[in-house]
């Protein structure tokens, strides 16, 4: 477990009316399970809404990845050209980038396709139907798959890692509340397991 020493803000005691932490969550090649586990914070989401503003997330309605994000949790591995682009934007615009869940941390299930070539994979999955195989070429309506699925830190610099498939809500709360207090993410041993 790598520690982040980046300070999100000065102190944990937030005076009333202090600007909220700008929190983002993003979703690359994953199953949304990490986001579901985040929603499993249940009523703590209401608490979270008091100190943090969700400025970008698949569960909110925001047009593009904004500037000056304090913390961004990234679910999923990097699997296509759109993911690469989004990862780079996230890095450029966020103070702290967190690999959120095993897919982001290691590639996990999303990377199981790596032993196969992309062409082979597409041909075989789509060969049976009438019609033609989507290739993600030309007009770029569907984004091209990259040859090998990569964990996030092989594409951009990552500041903290939350393992788990998905990380359970306690682990997420431990990490997120530390980040919101501007403290390093230090997970206990039982919170550092994969799977």
């Amino acid at each position: 477990m790598r520690r982040t020493t980046l300070q999100v803000h000065e102190s944990s005691a937030k005076p009333a009316g202090a600007p909220k932490i700008r929190l983002a969550t993003a979703w690359l090649g994953g199953c949304s399970g990490c986001h579901m586990s985040f929603l499993d914070l249940d009523e703590r989401l209401i608490e979270l809404a008091e100190v943090a503003e969700l400025v970008y997330s698949p569960i909110a309605d925001i047009k593009e990845f904004p500037e000056n994000v304090d913390v961004c949790l990234v679910e999923g591995a990097v699997a296509n050209v759109d993911h690469v682009k989004l990862a780079q934007e996230i890095r450029a615009r966020s103070k702290v980038v967190v690999s959120f869940g095993d897919c982001a941390v290691t590639g996990n299930v999303t990377s199981l396709r790596n032993r196969l070539g992309v062409d082979d994979l597409l041909n075989q999955v789509y060969q049976n139907g009438p019609g033609s195989v989507p290739r993600g070429e030309g007009d770029e309506v569907v984004p091209r798959l990259i040859e090998r699925v990569l964990p996030l830190h092989q594409v951009i610099q990552v500041d903290a890692f939350i393992p788990g498939c998905p990380p359970d809500p306690e682990r997420i709360w431990a990490a997120v509340s530390a980040l919101l207090r501007g403290e390093p993410v230090v997970l206990s041993a039982d919170m550092r397991r994969f799977g």
């Binding site: 993003a26 979703w27 690359l28 090649g29 994953g30 199953c31 949304s32 399970g33 990490c34 986001h35 579901m36 586990s37 929603l39 499993d40 249940d42 009523e43 989401l45 209401i46 809404a49 503003e53 969700l54 970008y56 997330s57 698949p58 569960i59 909110a60 309605d61 925001i62 047009k63 593009e64 990845f65 699997a79 296509n80 759109d82 682009k85 989004l86 996990n108 299930v109 999303t110 199981l112 032993r115 196969l116 994979l121 597409l122 075989q124 999955v125 789509y126 049976n128 139907g129 009438p130 019609g131 033609s132 195989v133 989507p134 309506v141 569907v142 798959l145 498939c165 998905p166 359970d168």
Partner: protein
């Protein structure tokens, strides 16, 4: 001059879905396409692995409905082993499935659609989300969170964790239900019943104000498909396939699900990673890309095709639902997926209440053991979004030779395309795009609660980037919002 409008949920958000709308010379909508842009290749990369691993791997297709994949995969495994699982194991699997229906439908209704339904289709996009709901209607938001939590809690109690529990396996389940846990579920039930009552009231109020939307949010004839019990009741775990047409005529009364390939074909189109399943006895082909074989699955289909729900409160609500359509005809508008979802939550709660009273539910015998006895196994379940099929071909050692998955959302692909077209036609005039139009198109897709990670899972609002492109390639106008 014909033009193309691309509604791009900005790939940088998830890269999961886009919409293209084609305008004719007069600026009217000619055609529309819903593109799914996510691809993960499960069917192929699972080859060469053991079928025993499949529940754990395929659950990772989707974090919102992992239980559906766990069940379909375990059932395909049961078939490969050639065993009948212990009766208590089946009841426990059903229990978890109802828990999942509650949590997934609650997420769809409260977290994702309520912002549109309660704050308004044309409300401020910055507020039109769960946080906006927490700010404006904190009690409703809290209730929604608690109802979703009830469903997640059931999954956690049975399987140890709410997302991807390694609990159901070929042959049954790993752990029985303890008496303490049974009582814990009982204690949680009254609150859940209260919340669903409230949700039904909320929906009915909202629907009164949204009658214009109900007319065009996917209001067209199609076939409907789903599982029913052998005697025609609402079913989510097993049973037989029923296909009904738009006039209410039963085309397939009790089709064996393991022979699904005889009635379901899968077309592919170069502009989407999501396949296009269709009803095979009818054609895929014709003047447009959504064809006669178009069918819908999921809550709307299930409550349309069943003869009855089979529990008292859900049956009462089902009678009210049926008033929406003239005699014996299925309800045609996808807007009523919302209503159907709430009816299914009510049904699931009644079934959960019934199941925890069953004296055999805590039996310890929950798993049958065997080796590979059959080389092909098909597993089916009703996922929150519709019928899900897993088909595995293995060798004598249980190593997968071929895998075919038919995902619930995929089966709504043709209908989702048609819905986009219908809403676009209604609200786009002379190529003009407003923020309201974008959200309406988006909501049309959201009525299906598309499980797009089983393809591309667009949770929540899809940020959109719309470009109107002239036939000569010049950009006529552009609009972004999210």
């Amino acid at each position: 001059m014909s033009r193309t409008i691309t509604i791009d949920p900005v790939t940088r958000i998830e890269g999961h879905a886009k919409i293209t709308i084609y305008l004719d010379n007069d600026g009217q909508v000619e055609d529309a396409r819903f593109h799914v842009t996510e691809f993960r290749g499960f069917e192929k990369f699972c080859e060469g692995r053991s079928f025993w691993e499949m529940p754990g791997i395929t659950a990772r297709i989707c974090g919102i409905c992992p239980v559906s994949h766990l069940l379909a995969s375990s059932k395909a495994g049961d078939a490969i082993l050639g065993v009948r699982i212990p009766p208590t194991a089946e009841k426990l699997r059903r229990l978890m499935n109802w828990g999942q229906l509650v949590q997934s439908h609650a997420l769809s209704f409260f977290h994702l659609s309520a912002p549109d339904l309660l704050l308004g289709m044309e409300s401020d996009p910055a507020q039109r989300n769960i946080a906006g709901l927490i700010a404006k209607y904190p009690d409703i938001a809290r209730n929604g969170i608690r109802l979703r939590r009830f469903g997640q809690e059931i999954i956690r109690i049975l399987g140890g964790q709410s997302v991807h529990p390694a609990w159901t396996v070929p042959g049954g389940v790993r752990e029985p239900l303890s008496n303490d846990h049974r009582n814990q579920i009982k204690r949680m039930l009254p609150e859940a019943f209260d919340i669903i009552g409230l949700a039904l009231d909320l929906f009915k109020e909202a629907a009164e104000d949204l009658q214009e939307e109900a007319q065009v949010y996917g209001n067209f004839p199609s076939l409907y498909m789903g599982l029913v019990t052998p005697d025609g009741g609402l079913e989510h775990y097993d049973g037989v396939l029923r296909v009904v047409d738009s006039g209410g005529k039963v085309l397939e009364a009790g089709f064996p699900p393991e022979r699904y390939r005889d009635i379901i074909g899968e077309a592919v189109e170069p502009w989407s990673y999501l396949k296009f399943p269709y009803y095979k006895p009818y054609a895929y082909g014709g003047p447009s890309y959504y064809k006669m074989g178009m069918y819908r699955v999921g809550p709307l289909a299930r409550v349309n095709i069943c003869d009855r729900a089979g529990t008292p409160k859900a049956d009462e609500e089902l009678r009210a639902f049926r008033q929406l359509s003239p005699k014996d005809k299925p309800v045609a508008s996808s807007f009523y997926y919302h209503y159907a979802r709430l009816i299914e939550i009510l049904f699931s709660l009644e079934k959960i209440a019934e199941t925890v009273e069953d004296p055999t539910i805590t039996n310890a015998r929950v798993r049958s053991h065997a080796d590979v006895n059959q080389l092909v196994g098909v597993g089916v379940s009703e996922a929150p979004r519709g019928t899900l099929f897993h088909e595995y071909h293995v060798n004598e050692d249980g190593i997968l030779q071929k895998v075919n998955l038919i995902i619930a959302t995929g089966q709504n692909n043709l209908a989702m395309n048609r819905t986009v077209q219908q809403i676009a036609r209604q609200y786009i005039r002379n190529g003009e795009i407003t923020e309201g139009v974008l959200n309406r198109i988006e909501h049309g897709i959201r009525t299906y609660d598309p499980c797009l990670s089983c393809s591309t899972h667009a949770v929540g609002q899809m940020p959109m980037h719309v470009t109107v492109i002239a036939a000569d390639g010049t950009v006529v106008s552009e609009r972004t919002r999210g």
